[in-house]
């Protein structure tokens, strides 16, 4: 037993090192001046500076990228949930002909590479004069978030005992009432976990943001990549930007941790 404990701790420590060392390096570099970053060997003793953050937030207005990402991620998540949750419930509960075929078709849309979608989307948004707007990005991000919502929420709804909704129907509630008053509250942890995943996917998405955004609607991944030039990389600036990009997601993870654990294990053990 003790041997297993030591082995477990070792695995956890190694895993944490692998995961955390690069993040720690980014945080440390964000606090260094160029001369301390470009040392031949690793320099751990240095005078911290917030110059990189001042430059990123002051000269380069990185807060604009953060605001854009926030709006797009929240918008896409809201739209995906608004459309996807009822769709998931319908696929789980309603007697739809070819239900599995519909579900498979929805999953298929998630498998299409983003690069295959981006050009037609560009043309559509350009012709509708939506190119460069937040709406274009929200709609584009919804294409990959919606299948996630439908498939995750469908499995959560299927895990619920149908008796609960049937009781509501017997009590006089309609199908929508059973969904709204019974099924949805009981799957709230799953809903939260799904929303968090949608936010994360949207926050980190690069290709759609690159092609469909305008100069005022560029998101965080574009902002971070912008520190890589043709002949030089602004390591300090890109590190500071990466830290700023990481903080909201980290905070979201902390806040949603309880929901994530409950949501992702929802229905794992049946009573």
């Amino acid at each position: 037993m003790k041997r297993w404990t030591v082995a477990s701790y070792t695995i956890v420590v190694v895993f944490l090192l692998v995961v955390l060392v690069p993040i720690a390096a980014v945080v440390v570099n964000s606090l260094k001046v160029p001369a301390d970053i470009f040392t031949p060997s690793l320099k751990l003793a240095f005078t911290p500076t917030f110059d990189n953050y001042a430059k990123v937030l002051g000269d380069l207005h990185f807060q604009t990228f953060l605001m854009n990402s926030t709006l797009v991620a929240l918008g896409s998540t809201a739209l995906s949930l608004a459309v996807g949750v009822p769709a998931a419930y319908a696929l789980a509960r309603l007697p739809i002909r070819g239900r599995e075929l519909w579900a498979g078709g929805i999953l298929f849309t998630r498998m299409v590479p983003a690069v295959a979608l981006v050009v037609p989307m560009y043309v559509i948004f350009q012709r509708t004069e939506l190119l460069g707007t937040y709406f274009a990005l929200i709609a584009a991000h919804t294409t990959f978030n919606l299948p996630i919502v439908i498939w995750m929420m469908r499995s959560f709804f299927e895990e619920l005992p149908p008796d609960l909704e049937e009781a509501a129907l017997v009590d006089g509630s309609g199908r929508f009432g059973a969904f709204w008053r019974v099924a949805l509250p009981l799957t709230a942890p799953g809903l939260a976990a799904t929303a968090v995943l949608c936010l994360l996917f949207s926050w980190n998405e690069f290709l759609f943001a690159l092609v469909l955004s305008g100069r005022d609607t560029q998101t965080v991944p574009i902002g971070v990549a912008s520190f890589i030039g043709t002949v030089s990389v602004d390591w300090g600036g890109s590190s500071a930007a990466a830290v700023l990009a990481l903080v909201p997601v980290f905070l979201l993870g902390l806040v949603a941790q309880r929901f994530l654990v409950r949501g992702l294990t929802f229905g794992a053990v049946k009573g």
Partner: protein
């Protein structure tokens, strides 16, 4: 049931708020498109001495360029200065260089959205052929549109010619650079070596100095990303050879290519470990931190050697052009083109910026900040530039014999194959002759025989 109902209300309220918020923000945000009437007075004299021509109070220009590097912030300042003098506005849409071509091509093929574009040589031909760019011959030849003394003759002819397609001038160039050698004067002196004048001497000195005082003999780019092909281009020019001829067909001499690869392989043996992962910035960082006695790289990247914030060896470097034969220096002509989008409705204002920004006076400011050269003749007689750029003399000598990359859409693919061949030669997977043959096949395929 009370608790779930409260949860539902909370969740549904949250969801509705988000949907409303997203609908509201969807109505706002930039479109990336250009605006303005295109009216104004393009012939108005500069508002201040040395300022841009014209008044464009209703014009809102959008400029497309890559992000990063010192140029972006410097160009924002220039855009603000242009706007202040002309009454218009000029926004920069800066995206990562790796994605710049695709973003520009999509915008130009569609409804537009850009007025001014920074166009790389390898896709200038593609854009010009497709009709995406507006000719500027009339504007460049019109004395009312240009300050006194400024015309096509103000530019270095061979550089200006790179913005010409099918007999029409489309673009004005800047960002002139090439590859040169930098060597540590103090290290050479300490070891009793003279500054190298030929590439054979460079290779020999690299072997002699490799390993001394913890230094590699020479740093140079080895990563596929354009810089290896730039160095190869200079090594070919130094032998009087080039990738293509006047008819656009391949003129690559396999023996010259093999010579160039042989030098590359020899140099890489005395380079810091991991040279195959070195782009120009990794090479210049290693040299700046005293990890290499010499470096071959493009001039903009060599700026890091002289920047005390990044370099522990600032002021210790000497510079020389690349040459296989002494006194026959050569280099690759590296440049970018400033072009006007054919669909822009504000071409007069766009030309005003092009003319002003590519002038020698403005380029001198860029050069001092970013270590590139201008394309006008007066740039090279500016004493401020000469004083601030220690490698200007070596660069000028290299550019006396220089060649530009072919401006065809297939060139980036050929360039990648050229770089792969060099890498495989360095790794010992190909002999210099085999690498040269692979290059010939790639170039021949890209240029159509």
């Amino acid at each position: 049931m009370a608790r779930p109902q409260r949860q539902v209300r909370r969740w549904s309220g949250f969801a509705i708020a988000l949907v409303v918020a997203s609908a509201v923000v969807a109505c706002s945000g930039g479109t990336g498109g250009s605006g303005g009437s295109g009216d104004g007075d393009p012939n108005a004299a500069p508002a201040s001495a040395g300022g841009p021509m014209g008044r464009f109070p209703d014009d809102k220009l959008v400029l497309s360029r890559w992000a990063g590097d010192p140029w972006t912030s410097g160009q924002k300042d220039a855009a603000a200065a242009w706007a202040k003098d002309t009454g218009g506005s000029l926004d920069l849409d800066a995206v990562p260089y790796e994605n710049l071509h695709d973003k520009q091509a999509l915008a130009l093929a569609g409804a537009g959205g850009y007025d001014i574009l920074y166009v790389h040589p390898s896709w200038f031909g593609e854009f010009a052929k497709a009709g995406y760019l507006a000719p500027i011959d009339d504007k460049l030849a019109d004395p009312k549109r240009n300050p006194g003394g400024f015309s096509a003759d103000s530019f270095l002819p061979n550089v200006l010619a790179q913005g010409k397609y099918d007999g029409k001038q489309y673009c004005l160039p800047d960002f002139v650079s090439t590859t040169v050698l930098a060597y540590r004067k103090d290290v050479f002196e300490k070891n009793g070596l003279k500054p190298p004048t030929t590439l054979d001497e460079v290779a020999a000195d690299a072997a002699t100095l490799n390993g001394k005082d913890g230094m590699a003999g020479i740093a140079l780019p080895g990563k596929r990303g354009g810089a290896v092909a730039d160095v190869m281009g200079s090594l070919l020019t130094a032998q009087g050879n080039w990738w293509f001829g006047a008819d656009g067909k391949t003129t690559l001499d396999k023996s010259a290519a093999a010579n160039a690869v042989r030098f590359y392989v020899q140099a890489a043996k005395n380079a810091p470990s991991g040279v195959l992962n070195f782009h120009v910035d990794e090479a210049s960082t290693a040299a700046a931190q005293g990890k290499a006695a010499m470096i071959i790289s493009t001039t903009p990247s060599l700026q890091a050697l002289e920047d005390p914030a990044k370099s522990s060896t600032a002021g210790k470097w000497g510079y020389a052009p690349l040459a296989f034969t002494a006194d026959k220096p050569a280099g690759e002509l590296i440049y970018w083109n400033w072009c006007i989008a054919a669909k822009s409705t504000q071409q007069d204002a766009a030309y005003s910026f092009l003319q002003w920004y590519t002038s020698g006076e403005q380029q001198a400011k860029v050069a001092i900040a970013a270590a590139t050269g201008g394309a006008t003749k007066d740039f090279y007689t500016n004493p401020d530039v000469a004083a601030k750029l220690p490698f200007l003399d070596a660069m000028n000598k290299a550019l006396t014999t220089s060649n530009p990359q072919p401006s065809v859409a297939a060139w980036p693919k050929a360039q990648d194959q050229i770089e792969l061949a060099v890498q495989e030669a360095i790794q010992g997977k190909k002999s210099p002759e085999q690498a040269a043959d692979a290059m010939y096949q790639a170039v021949s395929s890209a240029l159509g025989g």
